[in-house]
């Protein structure tokens, strides 16, 4: 499928800040499931630099802006040809060993409740393949956490999301990672885009899902929010231990300002672009998923 993306992230500061530095991971991954036809990341008047491909295969680049900065807008536009590999990240070049993704963070730290959910999900599956076990964990997360926006926050941990029983794709993903770790399956957080359909959830901003390591197949994506594996409606950007580590945009400002954030994402079927473009990208305020911008005050 040909997917056309337009993703605009706009940071506003009530008091102009002296400096803004952002680390961007907004470029589609290179693997057999997607081919970039065109892709631009426009950072406005920022200076782009220090680009490199990291050990996990993601292109990373810096945008820096000298103040006074009142507004910073990042516009991602592009077209990607995708194919359905049933979630398998085939042909992706990376050097980080899968075992490094057994490491938990604050967001994915295991608890007795998370371990119990993993054990329940895998009950009677002792002889099952890792792939079947991964599917079972994904289903369990989907059933345990109802997709409800604005009930959780960017800092909500897997344990907290499970206790609340509600959340967005970030929470589903953190919980799935924690469950996978509980049964020694390497797992990581993946960011990207999802073309929205009537049935899917989480496509209003950039989307997130998990990848679990399956011997023989390699990394396989599991979207617990939608209880499925990523197909050709998905565009993969990058990965990390958790939402913070994988964030497509991480930024720090030098200055004391209250930040407002607006994100709009439109992902449409490029072949039918003329019909659906207008409905695809509605402007809306940032909820708990999507780009994360950390802020610090320096005086």
């Amino acid at each position: 499928m040909k997917l056309a993306v337009r993703h605009v992230t706009r940071y506003g500061f009530d008091t102009p800040v002296r400096r803004l530095v952002q680390s961007l991971r907004l470029w589609p991954s290179q693997f057999e499931g997607q081919t970039v036809l065109d892709w631009t990341v426009d950072t406005g008047s920022a200076i782009d630099g220090a680009g490199f491909r990291d050990g996990a295969g993601d292109w990373t680049q810096t945008a820096s802006l000298r103040g006074p900065v009142e507004v910073q807008e990042i516009t991602v536009t592009g077209t990607v040809e995708t194919s359905d590999l049933a979630g398998v990240l085939r042909g992706h070049r990376e050097r980080v060993p899968p075992s490094a993704y057994l490491t938990a963070t604050r967001s994915t730290a295991g608890t007795a409740e998370l371990r119990a959910l993993a054990a329940d999900a895998l009950e009677g599956m002792d002889g099952a393949t890792v792939l079947d076990r991964a599917h079972a964990l994904c289903r369990a997360v989907n059933e345990a956490i109802e997709f409800v926006p604005n009930e959780t926050e960017p800092h909500t941990t897997a344990a907290e999301a499970l206790a609340g029983g509600q959340g967005v794709c970030q929470d589903h993903t953190h919980v799935l990672i924690a469950l996978a770790h509980a049964v020694d399956i390497p797992a990581r957080y993946v960011t990207g885009y999802l073309m929205s359909t009537e049935d899917s959830v989480g496509a209003e901003a950039s989307h997130a899902w998990a990848e679990l390591w399956v011997d023989g197949l390699g990394w396989v994506g599991f979207d617990a929010a939608n209880a499925c594996c990523p197909n050709d409606a998905y565009i993969r950007l990058g990965s990390g231990f958790d939402a913070g580590d994988a964030a497509p945009i991480r930024g720090v400002v030098d200055g004391a300002a209250t930040e407002t954030l607006d994100v709009s994402v439109g992902v449409v079927d490029g072949a039918r672009q003329s019909q659906s473009q207008s409905g695809g990208g509605q402007e809306q305020s940032q909820s708990s998923d999507g780009a994360s911008q950390s802020q610090r005050q320096q005086q």
């Binding site: 680390s23 075992s99 057994l102 490491t103 950390s294």
Partner: protein, 474 residues
């Protein structure tokens, strides 16, 4: 001199015979009148206070400006003793660097089954962010501090390796400086190899690992967490000696492909950062987002070849106590040589059999936290009371993977000035090996001494002091 305990190797005496290396010092001490001695001791203290060398004890409160006690009786190595240590230290520093280059690249040592994968990759100190990176000259740990203890005439053990930012070298330099100022005659009577070349070698080492994008003379800076850090004195002392800027995170910024230093004459590009802050705080855009000490965007510039960071982020995976056990294997694996320096036999409580042995022999062992440092959270079995031993038993049973144990080593003693005169006190040694284009090692190091009678804990945070360390010239 106090009667010697034969359990411990006395570096000056065999029975009542004074070893040749110590002859001059024996006479010097015997001839020193008591009033001169106390005069000199207070002079030394004043000198240390004047240069501002103080040590804050982590997590213990109290006076952060406390002086680390200086003992005037030097510790002496013959050139022959040093030759072996010198070779062993360089060998170990080379192997540790080869290990780091390997585990962030092809992981041959894991593939070969020499080190279990999970100990490396599932380790807090393993940095995913630098996998596939090749720092200049493929050096990861540029200053390797190797803690050594001596238990016999020819018997040395490595207690631990420090591959991140080992501190204490300012004491090595100041101890010598102050001894030379107070007792110039000693340096006429004895041919002592100088250590004052250290700062020049450090500068040369750091400049030799300038990044690929650096043209011309590299601009080196020291990055400090600030004046509230316990080693701040050392940071400013080394910056002074090397003639480089001492900066905090807020003095630097990232723009485009480089890191820049704010100066009154405008931004100045920075090429090499000798950082004295932990990985987690280096860059809020890569590691802890709440870090105020680092430089946002630094890691992107590092990874794209615009700046060098010494030691490399991720270097800590080589000095983890669980990895320590394998260093002799690293020497064989990477260098194809027999290890010159030995490890202390170590039991891993993570292993069931080891743990059983440790729990059965707690009163004879030293137990350490795998990730701990500075002598905190440590049990010295033979010196501990029953309650402390039981406390550790519970701790180990709760989290066995968090502990290792070693035999209580019979640390050698060196004569030390005490209230009653001179008495043997236990010592260790931390030499500082520099790794860049070449491996450099000044003849000497920091000797730490346990000032309390019978104590085997030399950490300055636990009542240890320091001594000047002499290597006699050939």
């Amino acid at each position: 001199m106090a009667q010697d305990d034969p359990t411990y190797f006395n570096e000056m005496l065999t029975g009542s015979d004074v070893r040749a290396a110590y002859e001059n010092l024996g006479r010097w001490q015997a001839e020193m009148p008591a009033d001169l001695r106390s005069l000199k001791q207070s002079e030394a203290e004043q000198l240390f206070r004047r240069v501002g060398i103080t040590f804050a004890v982590y997590g213990e409160g109290g006076d952060p400006e406390r002086l680390i006690p200086f003992d005037m009786f030097p510790r002496v190595f013959t050139s022959e003793e040093w030759r072996k240590l010198d070779r062993g230290i360089r060998q170990r520093a080379a192997a540790l660097n080869a290990f780091l280059a390997d585990v962030y690249d092809r992981r041959e040592i894991i593939r070969a089954g020499v080190i279990p994968e999970h100990l490396v990759t599932h380790n807090e100190a393993f940095e995913k962010a630098v996998v596939g990176m090749r720092p200049p000259k493929n050096v990861w740990s540029h200053i390797v501090g190797i803690d050594l203890v001596r238990t016999g005439r020819d018997q040395f053990y490595v207690l631990e390796d420090n591959c991140r930012t080992p501190s204490g070298v300012s004491y090595m330099l100041q101890n010598r400086e102050i001894m030379m100022r107070m007792f110039p005659q000693l340096f006429v009577e004895n041919r002592i190899a100088p250590v004052d070349g250290y700062a020049g070698l450090l500068r040369k080492t750091l400049a030799s690992v300038a990044p690929p994008k650096c043209e011309g003379d590299p601009n080196v800076v020291i990055l400090t967490p600030g004046q509230f850090n316990s080693a701040y004195y050392e940071h400013s002392f080394l910056a002074d000696l090397m003639g480089v800027e001492l900066v905090e995170g807020q003095d630097l910024f990232v723009e485009g492909d480089f890191v820049w230093m704010k100066t009154t004459e405008g931004p100045q590009k920075v090429d090499v950062i000798y950082r004295r802050i932990d990985d987690a705080f280096l860059d809020p855009l890569c590691f802890r987002p709440d870090s105020m000490l680092g430089v946002p965007g630094l890691m992107n510039v590092y990874r794209s070849g615009g700046v060098s960071i010494c030691s490399a982020p991720g270097a800590g995976v080589a000095d983890d106590k669980a990895i320590y056990t394998f260093v002799p294997e690293m020497v064989r694996f990477y260098l194809g040589e027999a290890p010159i320096l030995e490890n202390v036999p170590t039991w891993q409580c993570a292993k069931r059999d080891d743990c059983k042995y440790v729990l059965e022999n707690l009163s004879e062992l030293v137990v350490k936290e795998v990730h701990g440092s500075g002598g905190y959270g440590m049990l010295v079995g033979p010196k501990a009371d029953k309650a402390t031993i039981e406390l550790f038993r519970a701790k180990i049973e709760a989290r066995p993977e968090n502990y290792i144990a070693q035999p209580t080593l019979a640390l050698s003693t060196v004569p030390t000035f005490v209230e009653e005169g001179v008495a043997p006190r236990h010592v260790d040694l931390r030499p500082y090996c520099l790794v860049g284009e070449k491996i450099e090692l000044v003849p000497g190091g920091l000797t730490r001494v346990a000032l309390k009678e019978g104590s085997l804990v030399v950490n300055s945070s636990q009542g240890g002091g320091v001594k000047d360390t002499w290597v006699l010239a050939e």
